[in-house]
Amino acid sequence: MGRYDLPQDLVEDILSRLPAKSLKRFSCVNKSWSALFQNPCFIAKHQHLSQKNWSIFVSGVDCEANKPVLFLHPNFDDDAAADDFDSRGIILESPFLEDAKKYEEFVGSCINGIICFKYYVEHNKIRDFALWNPAIREFKVLPSLPIHFPSNVDYEDVGSAFGYDSISNDFKVITILSYWNDPGYTVTYNWDPKVIMHTQVEVYTLSTNSWRQVDCDTVSHINFPARFREIYLNGVYHWSGMAPGIAKYYDVIVSFDMRNEAFRFSTDR
């Protein structure tokens, strides 16, 4: 060790402040650095430091190129950033843009640097999901969503959610499907009270890489007409919905807690 060589703990301190792109490149420095960057303790330290520059995630559409675009913006604590909105943003290239026939929809927001999106091929109702980490340019296609009702029954993809369970340190994706017990019934926005609607809720956890059905009896009577009105706050997802009353439908808010995977709903009635 040379006279001014840094001890290992200080080298690691410096490295934990580097952006993910630099770390990927510096995995080529030597074997011990390559191993260090995969060490869970180092990763946790790096993540903790990078969370101080939390980003705002915005998705939009580039009308000229006819493709979705994503922006990540730095923390707006800094006054300068607020004036300089355009140049401080980063445009992310989604990995699925090559296939023009696939439509993408982003689920929720960016959590710990991970983005979830679902995509489907034109005219096909079946959605696939993927998780994407743009910092290291890796994405993971989720296994296909299991369907627990007959294929001749019509169904609707009501909504999805992407969240993080802080107790088990796991990422989760939730999908709510509504289906009707009448094979001849087709989904429209004029609800037919004689046809019974059922709900299937599936939860995907990254640690098990599999979907699992969860109990949704609490909310199976609720309709979710406003698909994109959702909020994710403190580990709980909230959707607006409508529940059948005696004479008419009334507004409710449905909540799903990522930690205990339980539904609740609240109303002002």
Binding site: D5, L6, L18, S22, C28, V29
Partner: protein, 126 residues
């Protein structure tokens, strides 16, 4: 005083890590910190001015000095500066900077470089 090792520094004869040049950089920092503690931007500008003429290699000495003096804010600042200086540099530059050599088997390094080829885009020339 915020850190007690300063007295030790002045008493210590065997002080290879902290030369006079470094002392003039590191020692004034706590007073400046106290004066403009609340204002991050002003502190950032002061810090950048301070290190404008310091080569990245010199920063290594500053880090060792700050570590020896147990001066956490300066250590944090110097490590952050080194990270900013090296983040866009090549693998070779970083090896030289930290005095490291490649210990990969032939072909292993190429495989890694290929796998992370995207991370080599836009890297500063050596």
């Amino acid at each position: 005083m915020k850190f007690c090792t300063v007295k030790q520094y002045f008493d210590d004869e065997n002080n290879n890590n902290v030369t006079n040049g470094i002392a003039t950089t590191v020692i004034p920092l706590p007073n400046k910190h106290l004066k403009i503690k609340a204002n991050n931007k002003e502190m950032e500008q002061y810090e950048q001015e301070l290190l404008r003429n310091v080569m990245p290699q010199e920063l290594t000495k500053l880090i060792l000095a700050a570590n020896y003096l147990n001066f956490k804010e300066a250590l944090d600042f110097f490590c952050r500066t080194v990270a900013n200086a090296i983040q866009n540099k090549s693998v070779d530059y970083v090896r030289k900077f930290f005095g490291l050599e490649s210990d990969f088997e032939p072909g292993e390094e190429e495989k890694l470089c290929k796998e992370f080829a995207w991370s080599f885009e836009g890297v500063d020339e050596d």
